[in-house]
Symmetry: C2
Subunit: 362 residues, 2 copies
């Protein structure tokens, strides 16, 4: 598609976020088919898109429910009719949060993450009498939250003593977000989950759900251990996944549409900066995102409203006023900055979807 | 103030953004007094706070008008009654944007940035008949947007030929955001602005406004050259400014209120991640933000909903459920992620202010 189409009056002024609907549909179908082929339940992480329209499409394609990161996200998706939610985060449950959790548990199947005995006790006390299940988080090598595998039995015992049903165990193999690390992270994931599930069961928990997975590790998820995967980014993909080789550039479905506003030599300035793209940039990334159709161009700096893009010495050089499409490094951060996504199909604007759960951080 | 106050039911669940009203008031007054003492006009950059309440306070304290980064921000502040606006950005003005600029120019004094002859021609054609002034942006060493000093006369000539009044010249000395760089960047700023003003005047422009300044360079702004400064961050300050020495830690007025949700050894996990704090982290920063009251603690990693904080081997270690306050690295990015700011005075919630211009990126 010629990028100039985005300069017509049918579209918003730049910068804005566009979604190529055909690519998104293919991404959704491919992951659904992959999970089905491995007999893994797919519970996509909705923090990536924060959009009821996309969540419904995921559920139509066979997802067993959604994963969310915050109580606010859970409330938005429950409101939109998604009634099987896993809040994959070790919330500390205050009284105010307990009231919201109770209300949510009345309209949706609800699982919450826990990763410590005192977190489980606090939760159990706060939601006593509500039907809330827990999933015990185990650290598989990312070293963020998550109990150490040896501590899972303790957490399971505390949770059950606090009146909570332990539905299973989960991990996030976030250390798989790096060049050449996917297979090893997926192996770590399976090993930690197998240990954690045994420990939880030894403590008397049913722990039937063994949940892992992320977009980079989903293809390597060990179906002999896992029962469920929770990829998020796959719906859109992003420059990070393409640079890691998890997807091709033709699989990137979301991009910022930006205008060249300034130019000097082989450097051009776009009007999409970090307040549109997000500032995430892992050390191994080639820049602050990538320009679609210009594989050699590099985003060497992002400020709030400027992307500095250096084009190679030879070849096409966009002029002031030209429209370019930018694949962000990390699409979850990008979507979280926008109020809406412009859905494009066949070069025309098909719809505008609100990012309904944006800003629902607590 | 004891951080535990934030765990009372008067406050929202964590994570949320709080503003210490007394510190903010002092920051506003100090900058207003500094500008007045140097006979410099103060035109604060409203992209930092995006809040009409704060803009009104800035104007009450003597600011001549506001600086904004996008047309959407300009619209929000005009709607709120701010009628002297400088959009310090080299917009590429399409027909759709021209209609919005015309509407805005009818209710507000409006200056727009330009940094190229063709940008000026495009703007002049698009807004012909409206009263829109331009300010010519000059590059003073940050190497982002801005004409080279030698090209300013060309831009001024093109702007006037296109029917635009050239009100002045401006620059953003962004290369002053680094340890030990403030004074040199302020000198570069003054030199580039002096050259640019001469060039614009030699082309027949009045160019009475010589506008520079940023929070780190404001104290070094050369009042023999500049007529106006445009700091933004000073209203709240942030970890970046405190680490640069532009302010003290006691001058940081905005922070994320966060809960310890997980813990292992001397590492604790907070529920404020990059979707609350922002991901900005210059190479010289000590981490992903700073924990107020714990000067030796370091935020070693941020994911979307987790801050990983390493505490020193000795000393206090927060427990799960404890509340901590996090000074973000770059407060403009932080505010841009939130829907509201919780105003705190004397340990009590005084008000909740909407971040009215959040998401107005185009």
């Amino acid at each position: 598609m010629n990028d100039a189409v985005y300069s017509t009056q049918d579209f918003p002024s730049t910068p804005f976020l566009a979604v190529d609907a055909a690519i998104m549909d293919r991404n959704l179908e491919t992951m659904a088919a992959r999970a089905a082929a491995s007999s893994l339940s797919l519970r996509p992480h909705a923090k990536t898109h924060k959009s009821p329209q996309i969540a419904r499409r995921q559920l139509e394609l066979g997802a067993v429910g959604l994963t969310v990161a915050t109580l606010g996200e859970a409330e938005v998706f429950a409101e939109a009719g998604c009634t099987d939610l896993f809040l994959a985060y070790p919330l500390w449950v205050t009284d105010a949060r307990a009231a919201r959790i109770r209300a949510l548990a009345e309209r949706s199947t609800l699982r919450l993450g826990v990763d410590s005995a005192d977190g489980a006790e606090q939760l159990g006390r706060a939601v006593r009498g509500s039907h809330v299940q827990v999933m015990i988080e185990v650290d598989s090598g990312h070293h963020r939250s998550g109990a150490q595998p040896d501590d899972v039995a303790l957490v399971a015992t505390a949770a059950q003593a606090a009146g909570l049903e332990v539905a299973g165990v989960f991990t996030f193999p976030g250390h798989g977000y790096g060049p050449g690390r996917r297979a090893a992270a997926a192996a770590d994931e399976a090993a930690a989950l197998a240990t954690a599930a045994r420990a939880a069961r030894s403590a008397g928990a049913a722990a039937v759900v063994i949940s892992g997975g992320s977009t980079p590790t989903a293809a390597d998820a060990d179906a002999s251990v896992l029962t469920e995967i929770r990829p998020g980014v796959y719906v859109f993909n992003d420059a990070q996944q393409a640079e890691l080789g998890t997807c091709g550039w033709d699989d990137v479905a979301l991009f910022a549409v930006a205008t060249v506003v300034s130019s000097s030599g082989r450097t051009v300035i776009l009007d999409a900066g970090s307040k549109v793209l997000g500032a995430d940039q892992p050390a191994w990334a080639t820049g602050g995102g990538r320009i679609l159709g210009h594989p050699e161009a590099r985003i060497t700096a992002l400020s709030e409203h400027h992307a500095t893009v250096v084009f190679p010495a030879e070849g096409a050089l966009p002029a002031r006023g030209d429209i370019l499409r930018v694949a962000p490094n990390h699409v979850c951060a990008t979507v979280n900055l926008a109020d809406e996504l412009v859905l494009v199909r066949g070069g025309a604007m098909e719809d505008v979807w609100p990012v309904a759960a944006r800003g629902r951080n607590n």
